[in-house]
Amino acid sequence: MDLKLMIYLVVGATFALYIGIAIWARAGSTGEFYVAGKGVNPIANGMATAADWMSAASFISMAGLIAFLGYSGSVYLMGWTGGYVLMALLLAPYLRKFGKFTVPQFVGDRFYSNGARIVAVICLLIISITYVIGQMRGVGIAFSRFLEVDILWGLIAGMSIVFVYAVLGGMKGITYTQIAQYVVLIFAYTVPAVFISIQLTGHFLPQTGLGATLSGDDSRYLLQALDGMMVDLGFAEYTTNATFSTLNMFLLTMALMIGTAGLPHVIIRFFTVPRVRDARKSAGWALIFIALLYTTAPAVGAMAMYNLVNTLYPGGVGNTSEAMVYDERPEWMRTWENTGLLVFEDKNDDGRIQYYNQGNPPAFATEDNLQGNELVRLDRDIMVLANPEIASLPNWVIALVAAGGIAAALSTAAGLLLAISSAISHDLLKGVFMPKISEKNELMAGRISMAGAILLAGYLGLNPPGFAAEVVALAFGLAASSLFPVLMMGIFYKRMNKEGAIAGMLTGLISTLVYIFLYKGWFFIPGTNLLADNASGWILGISPQGFGTIGAVLNVTVALIVCKLTAPPPKEIQALVESVRVPRADTA
């Protein structure tokens, strides 16, 4: 069957499924709209959390990042999974016991202050809106590449689907759609990986395939061969650290971990399970479902890199006179060239493409009189999206990857949009400005703010503010430095008061924003950065991406100092903390 028709069929079928679920799972109350009536099975919630969590970045970009970073790419693998340990051990059970609808609500009640609640809403909005832009961009890329439609129409299609199930069903509709989306995305990710692993190593599991010997050459391990290839082309060994200093490896991994645990749209997923012990277990199930993708990703990255280099050097790596002939390049390269994400430039006019590290040219570059690296641009997203084509897999696998990429982006976007709309309707409207609003009107307000958030996200996806690549670092840095510390202190330090919490949150938020802006430009406007964004320009060698860790430490330090200098929280707040710490509080 024609590839394009196949993609339309598969993507269309998944969309029909999502809409069917939306109609079945309509929300009738604010409880269903915000937390799915607290009746979600912990395993189902784990699956929904995994889909919620694994965004366009995880599905489309991560394996590509790892392919180019090698060992250094581990920061993303460990950072985005290790955060679940913090979530499961330090936050989820207690916030579930608290038993309300939103993260700012906990902050507001625990710190007996609407001011604290509003600061938390601001943190939440900055984090979630920056994050949602990336998802919308992912939807746009998937549509424009696979369906060859204009990004505008791709976005409109994606937004309409999210609109139907998120506005109708709220958290309930989102949860059950996310379960379907998880199934789609995990199949889409693992099926090509299994095929490629079998092709290269004969291993069915990519996780063992990556550590296995190459098919047809039992004496050479895949990773060994890859290390050799990269060194031959003038790059660092694949399996050793070349990109980050040890300090920044540590800071970046830590920032991603505490950022993960502090992301409001993930935290609220644990409000949907019936009991505290379900919240503990559900985080484990979520990580199982996430780990299926995250332990496959390193194999996808490494094998894609291996295949790519072999495609570029059919006569052996570094054999420049037999490098790939440009006019004979494979079909997938032609289609990706149309998107501008893949660019070749035959600098020495020999009709062949020579790829190597220009910054550290290998010996053959001078010997063969090369004029520079001719693979001018290779967007990392291609590594996953073109993976099935690189390995010449059947058309239905390619169609599945398209549906998977869209599922990953839509499921995360929906979770973020819910976090945004509940912060507006429940925290700002009901909590602060209109406490007497009826449940029916609040539900309506929730739906309207959801619709507004979808329009805003769509607009930003269409006109990305030019810093799409930076937003992930920003969102995690801010979650790490503002929300996570204040939630943790709210649970583990009974004496923490509102003054300390507010001062801490503001310190974390502002210090991290300023540090990122110093290097990336004020509000990401190019050229307005005050310091050079490289290792020698970084204060104490701390990269802006890793600053979230420092921001969190500043947050806690300032909070503790301010707290010591001001009055302790009232008795009833200390009682609230006591009750949050115990699964069954009716014994009091």
Binding site: I66, Y71, G73, S74, L77, M78, T81, G82, Y84, V85, L86, A88, L89, L90, P93, Q207, T208, L210, G211, A212, T213, Y221, L222, L223, Q224, T239, T240, N241, T246, M249, F250, T253, M254, M257, R275, V276, R277, R280, K281, A283, G284, L287, I288, A291, Y294, T295, P298, E578, R581, V582, P583, R584, T587, A588
Partner: protein, 123 residues
């Protein structure tokens, strides 16, 4: 305490099998007039201390698996290998994730036991 209440508590103590020994002990103390307001509070403090102690151990393992081995000791570990994986590289791209998984389920299991032991588990 009214006489009626006393009878009710005695009846519960004699006939109700579903309540835990700890609760029974508290009822006995209440009837004997030796129960203190601090009884439950002390029990909760003990529960919280037990929780903090297991949390400390779990976070230590988390730090070893997520930072010490795969980042700070990676070069030393890379001199060994499992299959084609250099050990430090494997720890960073596979091992850490498996450890995190085991850790979360272990904590959930341990806390369920602790909840029952201190009689604060959910129905």
């Amino acid at each position: 305490m009214s006489e009626k209440m006393r009878d009710l508590l005695k009846k519960i103590l004699a006939e109700e099998n579903s309540i835990s020994d700890r609760t029974k002990e508290q009822i006995r103390q209440t009837l004997a007039g030796t129960a203190t307001a601090g009884g439950i509070a002390e029990q909760r403090t003990a529960y919280w201390k037990a929780n903090l102690s297991i949390l400390g151990w779990c976070l230590a393992v988390w730090f070893i698996a997520g930072f010490l081995l795969p980042i700070f000791m990676v070069d030393a570990l890379n001199t060994m290998s499992i299959g084609g994986y250099p050990l430090g590289f494997w720890m960073a791209q596979q091992g850490a994730i498996y450890t995190f998984l085991v850790l979360i389920f272990f904590y959930a299991w341990w806390m369920n036991r602790l909840d029952k032991k201190f009689d604060v588990h959910e129905e």
